[in-house]
Structures are given as C-alpha cells and as structure tokens.
Amino acid sequence: MKHHFTVEYEIDCPVAIAVAVYLDAEHYVFLHKKYSDTYEVLSYEPATRKIFIRESWELFGLRIGQTCMTEYVPPAEFLNYDIAPYPRWLPSVHHVMKTRTRVVYTEIPERNSTWSTLEIDLDLPFWLWPFRRWIEKAITRLKIEKDEQDIDMIRRRAALFGRENNSIYLADHQFILHKDEYLKHFGPNSKPLTPLA
C-alpha cells in the first residue's frame, strides 16, 4: 500500500548554498553525529552520480544502521532509495517497507532564497498501514531536526562570510560530492537557475 507525503519549507539561503551544504559530505558524521557517527562508501558510480552508502551508529554496544543508494540529479535534486537495515538480520521496518525520498531545492528569486521540498514515497504492508501517520511524523521530525542543524551552520557562515559566499565549496582543495557538476551549475561561470513558478 502506497503512502505519499511532502515536507516543504523555505530555507533562508541561496540555492547555491543549500546544494553545497547537501553535497558537503564532510560534515555528515560531525555536525549530524547525533543521528549517525559513521559514513561508509560501499560503491560509487561517478557517471550516474550514484553512491551506495552505509550510515551507522552504536546502540548498546552494537553497531547498527542502514544502507542506502544516494543519487544526485543536477542541479538541485537528491534521491535516496534501496534503503535496507544494517546488519541485514536486524529487525527493522525497512525489511517490509520500501522508502524512496526526493529532495528538490528551488529558487525563490524575490528573496534569493530556497524552497525545500522533500517528497516521500512509502510502500507499506497492510498491517503497517494504520501506522503510516506515525511514520510520517517520525520522518518529518528527523528531516526538520537535521535541516535546523544545517541552517544554523548556514546562518553563521552568512554572518561571517556573506550570504552568497560559496567560495570555500568552489576552492580547489575543498572536497564535496559531485564537485564537477556543482561547479557547472553554481560555479563562477554558471547560468541562472529556473526560479520557483
């Protein structure tokens, strides 16, 4: 049984910054360590911009987590799918529920800001259907909490270096995911984005 929902709000920064923060993988297990403290790359396909990852954390001395396929669709779209528990024998809702997420950042030109849309598709067994709203709330809460941490970082950097300053992400030495694509769309010679309709 399919359940679809959307989490939407404005992130007060240019799209170039929002995308950079998403692709700045170096902060995942430090700024967001409350949620997972280990990030491992299991496979990487540069041509399709797909990275199969494992995120894990320790619970009662046991390392648990999930594996997930992540995909970047330039300029500002991010997909997550094929989510499975780790280790595989771990009792988890992911054994019976398929989850697919899509994050899209769109420009709000009048405020030089970002509209963030998270679309979630859940494929649930009938016996989980009554709990769909509870799952929706849990996913929404997690998304908002992580975004709030990112927004704090964005705000502080804007105060220190300027709202539109993405120079650190463009710097030769700075690693971000899919940097060649980021440079094409948000580098010094990039073209303007399509604004929110």
Binding site: A25, Y44, M153, F175
Partner: protein
C-alpha cells in the same frame, strides 16, 4: 594554568592590564571560572569571542572561529591527544601550536576523494591553523593582547 612566575611579575595588587590599555582587549579572562581541559568561551569585548582551554602550563587562547569554514569552536571537543575537534567537519587542531593535525574525512571519504573529478585538488589545501592569542596574567585575570595589525 598560568605559572607562578607570571603571577609574581604582575602582583595581585595591580589593577587593569599590564601595559597600555590599547594593547589589550577590554575584558580580561577571569581565571577562577575556567574549566580545565574543556573549551571555555569568553567575550573579550568589541565583539571578539575566544575559546580558552586551560592546559598544564598555560592557557590556550584562540579565536572562536574555525579557520576551515567558520565553525563554532565554542562547541569543539577537547580530545585526549591535546587536539581540538571542530564540531562541523571534525578537523583537528593542535592545542599547542594551533596547526591542523588531522582531517578525518581524508579517511572517511578516501574512495570518493581518490575518484573525484579534476576540480578537486587536495594538494592545494591551505595550511589551516588556529592563531594562538598572547595574554598576560594580572592576579586572577588574563588580559589578551591585540595582534599588532588589529586596531
């Protein structure tokens, strides 16, 4: 903590900074309130925030801003190997010298970094470092000196 000789040079009867007031930030650091081997955030006035980590021999005083991406070093972790870990990206700086001693992402992202496009040039990385701030102790207070280039 600051050594005894520093205290002897500036007896507790002295009031105010140990030199021209312009050479020091207006607000001194009260030594008695500092937590040992922990990050203490102090406001020196004029909008300048610093972190203070009391070591065995002396205080380690740095600006509160990570030189990598501007992270809040007030929320940094003091590690057992006398390094300071930035909460945003995990970069580790030596408390003794301020120099970057480790970027753990070089290991975490090793596979991705190795296969990154040509626009990623780790060989061009700047030598990130925290700048230690000099101070002088008067009684139970440490006065942080302005750097020469600062107003």
């Amino acid at each position: 903590m600051p050594d005894a000789s520093a205290r002897a040079t500036h007896p507790e009867t002295m009031d105010g900074p140990p030199g021209p007031p312009d050479a020091f930030y207006p607000r001194p650091i009260e030594l008695s309130g500092l937590r040992r081997d922990a990050v203490n955030v102090r406001d020196l006035g004029e909008g300048v925030q610093v972190i203070v980590v009391p070591g065995r021999e002396r205080l380690h005083v740095f600006r509160e801003i990570c030189p990598h991406m501007g992270g809040p070093l007030g929320e940094a972790t003091v590690c057992k190997d006398a390094t300071l870990e930035c909460p945003w990206h995990g970069y580790r700086f030596s408390l003794e010298t301020g120099r970057l001693v480790d970027n753990p992402n070089e290991r975490i992202m090793a596979d991705l970094r190795r296969r990154a496009p040509d626009c990623f040039r780790p060989d061009k990385a700047p030598r990130y470092a925290l700048t230690p701030m000099a101070y002088q102790v008067v009684g139970d207070r440490a006065y942080v000196q302005r750097r020469r280039s600062e107003p």
